[in-house]
Symmetry: C2
């Protein structure tokens, strides 16, 4: 995936835009007191690690619609990384995740700061509070970065706002779905629709289309490509969460199983599991202390029930749909090529 997102030097330019924005905006914050620098530092560290998927869709969504490759476009596209910083930092608090991309999650890092400073009170509560604030800052700054790009006309802001509402709604659906234990394939796919398909792919493409002042037919093409592709991304993520290489995912092996995530993969396994297999899932899924043997046992259930094969087929179908949509999409050829490569690379089996 690295290759295709490096075309037009995009990843380096996104990083430059983020560096410039953060350098300028942290000055006012840092000036508030010697306690403040860790706050902006956390955002700087976070945005250095992104894959640039959403900026990529925004950038190529604009070029595909005939828009120009400008630094202002890169700035607008990069603002999505700050938005994603908010989503991730808050998500890690909600999920109680310990790590992100192989490093401590922000709330854990600030709990450690509290501990190292020898302060009084609850270090976990301090970490949570700091992470909530850092997410809020990222959310505010993402919007500011988009606006200061100079490209944020009414349509652009409308798409951006829809995206923000989608994410909150999708996250809430996810919370409810995990809590209520609905655990059906349909419930998991509904969450994937909002959190992955709309947020990660369709809305960034639409944001680019809006910047290019595209015709409605372009928006429709991006939906036809983006929605199935985004679901495929989520399904690939579900598989990687169970079988992925920790070196690549940045999380310990089987971490999704320890967190007890009710993914489509798990739901599918439960649909056809034998009573003994169901019992095994009930006992092990969501056990924070699950050991390697437990992880292996759960992996076997997912394989033996045929759930992994079914999810792989679902990914293939959705990828095909997305690629077929590109065949008839009225887009600039270079963008079509990039979107095709992005779709293939981001859904490829990593194992």
């Amino acid at each position: 995936m690295t290759g295709v997102l490096d075309r037009r030097d995009l990843r380096a330019r996104v990083q430059q835009a983020l560096d410039a924005f953060l350098l300028e905006h942290r000055a006012a914050l840092d000036a508030m007191g010697p306690e403040l620098p860790p706050v902006a530092d956390a955002l700087v560290a976070y945005v250095a690690g992104g894959k640039r998927m959403r900026p990529g869709f925004c950038f190529w969504g604009c070029l595909g619609a005939g828009g120009a490759d400008t630094d202002a476009l890169v700035t607008a596209a990069a603002s999505l990384e700050l938005f994603q910083a908010c989503a991730i930092v808050h998500d890690d608090v909600m999920d109680g995740s310990d790590t992100r991309r192989g490093r401590p999650a922000v709330h854990r890092a600030f709990a450690a700061l509290h501990r190292d400073a020898g302060w009084s009170g609850d270090e976990e509560a301090f970490g949570t509070g700091a992470a909530i604030l850092i997410g809020d800052l990222a959310l505010s700054w993402s919007d500011e970065m988009l606006v200061t790009s100079g490209l944020a006309g009414p349509t652009v802001l409308r798409v951006f706002s829809q995206m923000r509402t989608d994410v909150v709604g999708g996250q809430y659906l996810d919370l409810v779905s995990q809590a209520s234990g609905a655990g059906t394939v349909a419930a998991a796919l509904r969450v994937a629709h909002w959190k992955a398909a709309k947020y990660t792919v369709e809305r960034p493409l639409h944001l680019g289309a809006a910047i290019a002042e595209a015709d409605p037919v372009v928006y429709a093409a991006y939906s036809a490509y983006g929605l199935p592709l985004g679901e495929a991304f989520q399904l690939r993520d579900d598989v990687l969460g169970v079988y992925g290489d920790p070196e690549v995912t940045g999380k310990p092996a089987g971490d999704d199983l320890r967190e007890g995530k009710r993914t489509a993969l798990v739901a599918m396994a439960l649909e056809t599991a034998s009573p003994a297999q169901q019992d095994l899932v009930r006992r092990h899924l969501g056990d924070p202390d699950l050991d390697a043997a437990g992880v292996e046992a759960l992996r076997d259930v997912l394989l033996d029930t045929g759930a992994v094969d079914r999810v792989e087929r679902m990914i293939d179908e959705r990828l095909e749909q997305a690629l077929a949509a590109l065949d008839t999409a009225p887009l600039a050829p270079e963008a079509t090529e990039v979107l095709r490569e992005l779709a293939t690379a981001a859904t490829a089996r990593a194992h």
Copy 2:
């Protein structure tokens, strides 16, 4: 205070603007699924209860600078209530507060929803997650409401962005100050500067000034009025947090003492407290189970050390400074009158 904020029917118009915005914007959210309505309901309920202080400063800040009284201005001003909703909902999570304005805090309300639904997992974690998301939504929507007012030119957006950064920084300073137990008067006043003086008074006035495209001299006058006044607000709030009538504050009597807030009032008492008094504060302040007798004992220390008198004098001095700034401010006469009344009403002793 009700009276002065009702001039030009402001409070009713702010409510109308919020109702119209929320009705329109909740539609997309509610359409995402039958689980969603409680999310927007929480915001609707929250914004119904505000004092409209920040919208008031924005509105009169604009009129004071020669701006026109339009519905667009009211919409822009009302967006500050949605921003405040984010600040409060997230603040209550960070402080672990149970109540807000006499009702359960949002995170507690969603923990109850989890319990009533008989869902599995940790109800507290669900409540926290929901409150984080609802705050994020309020933050996103506040910005959207400001933009859709049609008055959000570059200067307006810059002031709004500065305000958002101030609040995050101020809240973080507050977290650190509570955790590190610095507990000095200076530390408490620094937090008050960012969280109350800039956020509650100066920035809303500047937002109004920006909407009116005011001259720099108006911004300076608003700072000269707003910064001391905002500190006075915070100091009054500190006193009310200890001695206020629960009917008026919406919180149980002595709640700030149970939460262990390191206010300027407490810091001042500790400066002159006898060893026995210091010991009493150490034992009781921050005890979540503090009973009425304990509250009374702490109140006596604050009175006997002269801290309450000193804080009252500080409030008077700051109010005087604010009013003196108005005497020479180049503002429309009606606005000057309103700002004078607002200052007096919001710093008045309620006991």
